[in-house]
Subunit: 178 residues, 4 copies
DNA sequence: GATGAATGAGGGTTCATTCAT
DNA sequence: GATGAATGAACCCTCATTCAT
């Protein structure tokens, strides 16, 4: 049943987010999902495979290709405005998941395409590069991607809510980015 | 002997930095330190205690009180300049250690005073607060501390060297901070 | 369907011969047979039952009663000649199967009538006994059966081909048997 | 303690001989040895390693080099007489161990130098070769080694005692070997 | 007649830690 | 002060088998 797999994935992400990969045991996941431990291994070949599938499943909200196409055509200031807003919103929405990914990004068992750098930094850099190319302008995409990634990291890692001042924050960072 | 304890601490930090707390085993540490595994438990009551002592030992390079006293008296622009430069330099020097702390900051077993937020963010915020109070000016210390922490996070987490352009970076961030 | 059962039996013997009983898993057999694992348990009550049926099915080439009737009437030298040739040929043809039976003969789960001793040694001894009785001669059937069984064991267990010199071998062993 | 390792080895060989490698569990071995299961893994890196060490330990009664030096100088008939007697005696004494080795010789996990062919057949062949060379005579060492190995196999695999008639058996086989 | 879904029982192995010396 | 020896608890994972359809 598709249902079972989903139950396991949802239980697993909850625990992985809470305790990280190593500290989460397969039996805990099974218990939370309400299935036998074996069932978990029938649906996924190994714990690490479950981990990856879980991440991918809950990570699917990336910048979709169409959205990015629209954004890059904007003039630079608006481009960054939208890029920032979009990334910030996702970061806040997926806070726990991103925390997990950051934590596990230092480990060897996480495949490269699921590491923080790839998921966040490289995506931003790419968007900036495409934008620059489209408008035929020069831009230090590495620097700017790093600045934005730093902002996102601070939102995810440092406690406290900033929901009220997203607009402000964007304005501030535009000062550096432009 | 003091020597033995130090050997263990040095071996442990090397492994903790490389693989994190959970993935590092006590026997590995003992082997690298060149002592028996038991010895480790004679010197430290438990693995987690060794972990904490190790962190504290290698983390001792905090803003020393005297230095901060000097800095806060500077006028605001210079204060931030020096603060930024100092924090950036430490971040780059202690990259691996900070990575470790970030990684483990999401776990429950790390005491609060060793978590990233405390070690980096709160220290910066405090410095800003003292500076503001001294000069009797208003300042959003939370916001600025978050911005700086975000910068440091980006330096530690995202690969690539920025050593050449530290001056530039500082100038840029000053645009937001002031 | 008869077909399904046969597919399972053929797949199973292939794997059993290759890896032995314990090392072969039911899912492997099912995969090789191209059926679901459950189907295997519908056709056979348990793995061990499948094992036994498989053995019996592929073992059916025993000395048929008629053939033996003809042989025992021969004069002793010819009797042994034919007996040896027949047993050697079967041993070489069923090498893998015999190896499997030898291997599993040391286990408790194999029923007595499928063990090597029964299948090979006892059959030979019986043939010799019948022959002796028919001709009213004395003969140490145990000793001779053991010698022949030893020869067959050496052919099955020790690598190397002896196909060219079967005639020679028979002549040699006749020296002891007569 | 050396003692513990020996206890484990002795317990293990008893169980391995009785049930074979796969069917014997590490917890059984530990229980029989009177130690915790972990202890077993402290002394041996893995089950298979314990298995091999156990085999080697209990197998140490091979033809020692000096003995063989004496034997090969005998004239051919006496050489075979002594070789046969020696091998038969060992086979009878190490019946269970040889059975185990035969059983596991069909598996992949047994290293080549512990397989039946190597331990029994190749040793005999080598002795014959050395003898032939020494006396500058021709001899089909492969054939004769196979014959002797077959005899030993029959002694080990087929039930029944032949202790009384070892002399006889030797005389008989000499007919083929010479 | 055949199968997808699920599992209880147990497998080898690793972990941090304690005990006795 | 340091260690060799031993372990309880837990880990991931695999097995043959059953249930419901």
């Amino acid at each position: 049943m598709k249902d079972t797999k989903e139950k396991i994935i949802n239980a697993s992400i909850k625990l992985f987010e809470k305790k990280g990969y190593s500290e989460t045991t397969t039996i805990e996941i099974a218990n939370l999902a309400g299935v036998a431990e074996v069932t978990l291994f029938r649906k996924f070949n190994s714990k690490i495979e479950l981990f990856e599938e879980s991440l991918r499943y809950h990570l699917s909200v990336q910048i979709d290709k169409e959205k990015i196409q629209k954004i890059i055509k904007l003039k630079t200031q608006d481009f960054y405005k939208y890029l920032l807003r979009n990334r910030i919103e996702i970061a806040l929405k997926k806070k726990k998941l991103l925390r997990l990914i950051i934590k596990e990004s230092f480990s060897d068992y996480l495949p490269k395409d699921l590491k923080f750098t790839e998921i966040v930094y490289e995506h931003i850099k790419e968007a900036i590069d495409i934008h620059s190319k489209y408008h035929n302008i020069k831009s230090n995409s590495e620097k700017n991607a790093r600045i934005i990634a730093g902002l996102l990291l601070s939102l995810v890692i440092i406690p406290g809510t900033i929901e009220d001042s997203i607009g402000e924050i964007i304005e501030e960072y535009l000062k550096i980015l432009l």
